[in-house]
Symmetry: C2
Subunit: 79 residues, 2 copies
């Protein structure tokens, strides 16, 4: 099964990378960019064939390695 | 409008970051992880209110700044 993991910064956590992108876009002439938040997108190919088990496995991976749960949120979609 | 941008490496492009995550997961005891590909997920808050124009604007930003079109693919979803 394929698991698509989104890892985003929690609200209120400063995102200097996003701010840098926002300023760069403004410098390139893109007006009207109010906010930029940059996160991670991870695609996992799992040998597990049961969707529920694959999701549980991916969530466990987020908790243990992929996300910093102090400052980041994560979501998992199974395909 | 909000634009959600996914930037992923093209097929065939080596992903050392993904490989590192894969090995780290194996080291933590997660079996059955066949492949890991790491990409970027960028949320843009645009002042544009027309969905079609917002999408065109976001695609233009991908082309000019956000993605390296030689090795990366990008998709834009408008909400």
């Amino acid at each position: 099964m394929k698991a698509k993991v989104h890892i985003t910064l929690k609200n209120g956590v400063l995102d200097p990378q996003g701010k840098a992108v926002q300023h760069a876009l403004a410098g390139l002439g893109f007006a009207g960019v109010e906010e930029v938040r940059q996160g991670k997108f991870i695609e996992l190919q799992l040998s597990e064939t049961d969707p529920a088990k694959a999701e549980a496995q991916a969530l466990e991976m987020c908790k243990k390695l992929l996300a910093n749960t102090v400052i980041e949120n994560y979501t998992v979609e199974i395909e």
